[in-house]
Symmetry: C2
Subunit: 188 residues, 2 copies
């Protein structure tokens, strides 16, 4: 699978269930969210706009996605909603690795560029460095309708959080039929 | 890393925090456990005994481990304690893959043989087939003192559960110093 295929398979509506393990406190926190992922073609205006923010020639972008979420966290009462645009800019010598441009993420309030690596095992690894934080996220598909993500967060050189997200495809795509089979068999 | 090195790095005392996502119910369940992993040499009597139960010549075993746990689950009040012996029996043509013999696991009450595969990315994948279930678990080290596990469980052909476990090394090994650094930095 290449990065475009990974984005294509990610497109759609997902129920996303995230559990964060706060390592120092030995506590976990749950978050649930509906997520919509739309694939953006490399020549989409939003892709070009994000490239320009990073002073990158838009013709080097290989694909993009808009991610919109609407969810709740366990430890507060607020609704968490938002959206971000992601754009991949592959390395010239190896399109399986490159830069990941991000409009705005869940945690950050300013644009942050990370890097991506599409593995030979079809897992996508994203690494983002912030001023005082470093995060690595691994995403993969257990099936076309079950996406998994594991991330670790380092602050000041030490691991502070590990998070796990299971994402179940929702809605009426043909592939989604298999998910309701899974759900049904689980309750039988 | 080969399978023996993975077992060696796993030896010690760990605080294990597991969260299971029950996919059909969109609910999660936490479990916390102290785990002790002792490496057993290939010629250890317990390794030989387990091989004999599976009618495998003990000389084909490459290594073994005894895992002892003592923990609690969120959804019941009972103490969960127990122990099991694991033994790896590599394939003759490729020692990175083979059988994983198991005395008794957390879920099963009878001996079950699975398979293991040590990946080029230093992750260990374990696959176990039961009568009506199939499980795949991936284990890897984020650092020598932070072990991670993700497992998926299929029942009757559909995914029913995804679990994530973060394991922090406890106690007085030299490597463990880095863990307390991580914990300290997280709370600062």
């Amino acid at each position: 699978m290449n990065i475009q295929e990974f984005f294509e398979l990610s497109a759609g509506k997902w129920f996303s269930h995230r559990t964060s393990h706060h390592l120092a406190f030995k506590q976990s926190e749950d978050g649930k969210s509906d997520i919509v992922i739309e694939m953006l073609a490399a020549d989409h205006p939003e892709v070009a706009k994000l490239c320009q923010q990073y002073e990158i020639d838009p013709k080097h972008a290989s694909c993009g996605a808009r991610v919109t979420w609407n969810g709740t966290m366990e430890w507060d009462e607020e609704k968490h909603t938002g959206s971000t645009v992601l754009v991949t800019v592959p390395n010239e010598d190896n399109p399986n690795e490159g830069k990941l441009l991000r409009e705005m993420g869940y945690a950050e309030k300013a644009p942050v560029a990370g890097s991506y690596k599409m593995g030979s095992d079809d897992a996508l690894t994203l690494i983002t460095e912030y001023e005082t934080m470093w995060s690595e996220e691994r995403l993969w598909f257990a099936s076309p309708n079950l996406r998994m993500r594991v991330s670790v967060l380092k602050r000041f050189g030490g691991f502070s959080m590990a998070s796990f997200t299971s994402e179940i495809r929702m809605g009426g795509t043909p592939a989604a039929a298999k998910v309701s089979e899974a759900a049904n068999s689980a309750s039988s």
